[in-house]
Symmetry: C2
Subunit: 362 residues, 2 copies
């Protein structure tokens, strides 16, 4: 059965949105890859994508959208532009750790509050050292399948009202629905929930981040071409600092339009239904179980499954039906699988996955 | 005639290589955009692209190839990783100036030797201040159409044998044929001579650059995720520091293979023939003339043409035949056109351009 058409349930890169091919065709027909990035045509693409993304994710007009190359670059630029001295990181997985390490590598006084992989944090009882200029939270930890409750995250704003709050929504966007009047910044990459080719990171920042970056820039410590001042000044003209991934920006806009048309509420409710299918299956399974025990912390978009020594067997059973899931991350590489549940993943295919996982009982 | 199929002779983004569409089709069929960037499949793509690029451009095995997001990022990372204090820049155009400004923004002691736009340098008679750690030369200045002679550039190595020599070949690769046993680093972006969608910068560095970056890294001043130590360690595994533009890397490899098959010598001789067509036409033209006067300095791949107040008319005459050329750059925006002459640009179309330019005589 190995010649079945493959469907990728990997947590990113993942299955392309089914319309990507059509929009690449459009892009080629309309010479999107040949137009000048300072032309009116490009500025329209830039404007359309920003407009559609803001509409889809309910991002207020006053936020800026910067097109970088990856979520990893987003971390780098947030630290460079918003932290002169102190950052605070909530670390419960590999990507939260990467954000923390980025700050360390950039010579910041980075403090971390740690929690075991698979666990969350007690946000009502925080003890920290220095007052942080930036708080970094991985809302959806791709490495472990832990999603932090947004209402818990908002509590940080009460504790540090002046601090910039940055959330990593890399593998939860566009399902996640943060209140952008509370948070200051969020970022994601397009090869996960949007089902696009990798090579584009999207950073969303408010005026507070820009103001901080202006101070950093005036002190000549905000970095070079992707400092927020340059990104902001170009974004005001619907342009970028350098020749960007024009095709990626075009495709993101088209997919946002399509998701808006489909209905974001419908996408969110379908995502919840599909994730319930998987978690219910795991909770009844005697050989496999969800890595995240707390119902409140279970990600709806990345589901980590303890497979013990059965990982290879599980992956093979799924592959025989053309279904490709991710391995565990880091030290959990060989004892877990991770199943992505993004908008383009169909209920019927998730259902097939659960049937196969159910067969593990026998 | 405006419904003619457009052909882009812009200096980048430019006309896509005619095979790009076919290879995107391959990529979609082979799930290139869905595979994991730590998988064997990705490592094969990475390895193939590096191997083909090295073969095409005669790059020695010991050089590393890093996939960044743009040539602008390449400048940024070269400065961050190879300059603790002093860099020296030869500035005769907007992109050389950008390299210089990058060093200034990164707080380096950047020295520049300037020449008028459209002119070259006297490399045998240089006076500089501090001994530079990095010398930056824009071999082919996209903004003005000046190409510096490689043999002149090599003279710098005699003057500063210990210094890292970095050359910007953004709009001359793969036509340009630098001797990588003399230079230490070169970079280009793929949306010019390779005719690919923008969103990938390629940085080629030797062991000397890596060694310098190791010293910088140990002092914690080499930056974050795209420091050369991280890029190098990942490249050794045929991987990247973050999820990269996988499609871009795949396409670059395929186009390199195709150019190798076509023959790089043939491409180079065709490029010279086509550029001669244009310069000969300009030298006989009474209303238009080549911006670069010296034959030795005339770029074969980006030809800047003084149009005076006729720019709009010239562009319109070309557009009527579906031929799109670039405007001048910066202050020359409205009084020049720039014609790209890359491998995918056909002799017959260049010939049509010259016929139209000839008509300006009447």
């Amino acid at each position: 059965m190995n010649n079945k058409k493959k469907i990728y349930f990997t947590p990113g890169p993942t299955q392309l949105h089914p319309s990507v091919e059509k929009y690449i065709r459009h892009a080629l027909d309309e010479n999107v890859c040949s137009i000048n990035h300072r032309s009116q045509e490009f500025m329209e693409i830039f404007g359309n994508t920003v407009c559609s993304l803001k509409k889809l994710m309910n991002i207020p007009e006053e936020f800026s959208v910067f097109f970088l190359s990856s979520a990893t670059e987003c971390m780098d630029r947030m630290i460079q532009n918003c932290v002169e001295k102190n950052s605070l990181h909530f670390v419960n997985g590999a990507f939260a750790e990467r954000y923390f390490k980025t700050a360390v590598e950039l010579n910041k006084n980075a403090e971390k509050i740690e929690s075991a992989f698979g666990e969350g944090f007690d946000f009502s009882n925080l003890k920290t050292g220095s007052l942080p200029e930036l708080v970094c939270i991985t809302q959806n930890e791709t490495s472990t399948g832990v999603a932090l409750d947004l209402n818990d995250i908002y509590k940080i704003k009460k504790l540090f009202p002046e601090t910039i709050l940055s959330i990593d929504i890399v593998s939860s966007a566009p399902y996640v629905n943060p209140d952008f009047t509370i948070i200051d910044s969020a970022f994601f990459s397009v090869q996960k929930g949007f089902g696009l080719p990798a090579g584009l990171g999207v950073l969303i920042v408010n005026e507070k981040c820009i103001s901080k970056a202006r101070v950093m820039h005036s002190k000549k410590v905000a970095g070079s071409y992707h400092n927020f001042v340059s990104l902001y000044d170009n974004a005001q003209k619907k342009q970028t600092s350098e020749t960007p991934n024009v095709l990626g920006i075009f495709l993101l806009g088209k997919i946002c339009e399509e998701l808006i048309h489909y209905g974001i509420k419908k996408i969110r409710s379908e995502t919840e239904d599909k994730s319930k299918l998987i978690y219910d299956c795991l909770d009844k399974n005697s050989k496999l179980n969800a890595f995240v025990k707390s119902n409140e912390l279970r990600s709806k978009t990345v589901i980590a499954v303890n497979t013990g020594d059965k990982q290879k067997i599980v992956k093979k059973m799924l592959l025989d039906e053309g279904l490709i899931v991710g391995s565990g991350y880091g030290k959990l590489k060989d004892s877990q699988i991770r199943i992505a549940n993004f908008p383009m993943h169909k209920h019927e295919d998730i259902s097939t996955i659960t049937q196969i996982l159910n067969n593990m009982k026998d």
